[in-house]
Symmetry: C2
């Protein structure tokens, strides 16, 4: 048997304790699979004495997590603290500089500093792995970087924030509005300390930027993600979309186009019959499209102690086995700086608006669309109270800037009662 | 850059040519990802001059595929011939004996000889990989052996024969019977030369036996798989199942129980709302349940040139990167000979029968069930022509041998018009 792999764990919250439990419960199984023992040597967290669901008394303690990165008896540091800067970043940098491998569940850290950290790790010949940072327990990074490595990836899509998907599917199932369900999530503890990370799409956007970098061989660039959260989704939109056979999802999409790299995390309509449209509650789903493999769909729990710890352990076992893969699947110094596509690829769009009920109002909207070069697939005007006329339009494929031009023209008609709603229909 | 990885490809059918195309099209991409060039050196197939969709003139030719296993200029042999014995087996054995790595798409070979071949490969320190043998393009073996390696696997399930799933979903969608759709599959070229490999469940059973060995650390044992094909599925059953919210699938299930290893490839009812119930047409799906990760669902094309070649290339790239994993995820000499569970774990069952329409017939059936220790969840008697009474029963959870006893008791009542239909309802 080879020498044990010695872990230092920084952060003993949900994920950290989940990892401790797996190592304590499955020691023999892990050693058989990895070909060597996996041992916890030292830990660090904000409180040493806090009551925890696993016994950590056998491990050395560090008050300062960064000190784990300097211990001679630690081979691999697990950064499970979180946060894009501060201690997490200092720990990752220190560990790499001291020749240690690093596994993290920290999407914010990687989305903001992933390229620099990958360069540093590869210069040291060390691994920096982050399976747990994207879509919880789903081994999606492994699928992209290894199982599907023979493919040119054409598109990656994902529903990767369980809280948002919970809110949207509960709106559809119960007819409760966004605000009521937001409150429910707050009560249930489903929200990040800053809820905008969830409902503003930032958390999911971090994950998308990481998948995009891996899929397209680009330097991770979170600031280029087009972000829109779910706070403005109305029950009306959910019902109207459903009437037409669609579900509304906070959907991340990344694809390389002739105009650059598209990265979007926005509410989209997807067909109810596709697995994306069927995805209920807090579950995550990632869809990968490759030139050989076609469409692969991966579904599983996106958060929680067990699923996230499972993903961390997948990385740990790879490192124990001696598998050395560049952080983003290809050497960091080969990753390109892709320009961001300002205009998204063409797609059908869902447009909902309320018009003044006066002669010619609908004609003005139809004319504005035509002037913007957009043709109409379906249009419905709904029965109304006499003063206002709700109108729903599904367009044929249109570029996002044509849609923007059309919305500007709508505003100029003077017949809109309120800001129109425009959502992309993602073809899957 | 490291030395190139030199391939010898045996078999230039759909899969082999797919691999040739990927290597020819994506050479630069593969080299960047793998850290070294991947080159085809030599090939072999039944005909050298057959018209093919890729140019093979640059490669050395061997009339005898087994000779590829002895060439000094080949590092890795791709066995893409097929068949459980004969040339495929001789080639794999020869290549391993000559210190070469082997990648195969051959489920029959591995299901029958996988343990012996794995022992041989590991004794030589070589890799024997078979991602393409199970569920086509879905990287499921990688998920089980690596991404989810921190989990004790609790159950693996899969719909892994596209032809069977095509027939069942077309029966449901079109109301055509089994025989008509079997003929359609024959016309469309969806069937193996021996159709019983497909519709008898053998092909899918091979795949299940491989997943079970990996999931539970056991020696692969195809002969222990309980096999039942789809030839007896009637439109009546499909309609009645649907009325109750279920779909009928040829479902593989493997789980370790206190009574041994269960391996079943049989028609089952699954909830329509679960991804398994939603799976249409020729697509494959594998469901993995682990003690930490919960339930992971993987979906994709189960066959075809691109998807299968994608899986082969995943293995090739792993080997190019130097990743050395035992064939079944843990060293072959640690794999246990698990006893086969003769009695399957308890589940609800679907029972359909046609009774003589005479007083007391239904009571006799209900009594027989009770005497077998089985309680009834739902029972329906359908309107009928006066002579025969169709009856549908859904039981509460029952062991498979109790169901067998009940069926024996039914036969003894003398009120059955025909053999009853019994299918397990798999709880997912």
């Amino acid at each position: 048997m080879n020498t044990p792999l010695r872990l230092g764990i920084a952060g003993l919250g949900t994920v950290g304790i989940g990892v401790v439990k797996i190592v304590q419960t499955h020691g023999e199984m892990l050693a058989r699979r990895a070909g060597r023992a996996i041992e916890i040597v030292a830990v660090s967290a904000s409180s040493r004495t806090k009551k925890r669901s696993a016994d950590i008394s056998a491990y050395a303690w560090e008050d300062d997590p960064v000190a784990l990165g300097r211990r001679d008896d630690v081979d691999l540091v697990l950064e499970l603290i979180g946060g894009e800067n501060g201690t997490a970043k200092a720990l990752a940098e220190t560990a790499i500089a001291n020749g240690k491998d690093v596994v993290t569940a920290n999407k914010a850290l990687l989305a903001h500093h992933g390229h620099a950290l990958a360069l540093a790790a590869e210069a040291q010949g060390r691994a920096l792995r982050f399976e747990a940072a994207v879509a919880g327990g789903i081994p999606v990074i492994k699928a992209l970087t290894e199982g599907l490595a023979g493919n040119r990836i054409e598109r990656v899509m994902g529903v990767m924030n369980g809280t948002c998907n919970y809110i949207l599917t509960r709106m559809e199932a119960t007819g409760q509005g966004y605000n009521a369900l937001f409150e429910e999530c707050a009560r249930l503890g489903f929200l990040e300390a800053d809820p905008n990370l969830d409902v503003g799409g930032i958390d999911a956007g971090h994950k998308l930027s990481l998948l995009a970098a891996i899929a397209f061989g680009t330097q991770v660039k979170f600031s280029a993600v087009e972000l829109q959260g779910i706070t403005d989704i109305s029950l009306d939109d959910i019902r109207l979309a459903r009437d037409m056979g669609f579900s509304i999802k906070l959907l991340g999409v990344a694809q390389m186009t002739g105009r650059g790299l598209e990265q979007r995390m926005t509410p989209c309509l997807v067909p109810e019959a596709h697995p994306l449209g069927q995805l209920d509650g807090g579950t995550n789903m990632v869809v990968i499209e490759g030139d050989s493999v076609g469409q692969i769909v991966l579904r599983g729990a996106g958060a929680g102690e067990g699923p996230t710890a499972s993903a961390v352990m997948g990385d740990v076992i790879d490192i124990a086995r001696g598998f050395r893969l560049p952080t983003f699947g290809a050497p960091a110094d080969t990753l390109i700086e892709a320009p961001a596509a300002v205009v998204s690829s063409a797609a059908p769009w869902y447009l909902r608006m309320v018009l003044l009920d006066k002669p010619g109002a609908l004609a003005k909207i139809a004319t504005a669309l035509g002037d913007a070069g957009i043709s109409i697939d379906r249009m419905r005007q709904y029965s109304h109270d006499g003063a206002h006329a709700p109108v729903l339009i599904v367009t044929h494929k249109a570029a996002s800037d044509d849609i923007r031009h059309a919305l500007d023209r709508f505003a100029a008609t003077g017949v809109l009662v309120e800001e129109p709603v425009a959502m992309r229909i993602e073809e899957v």
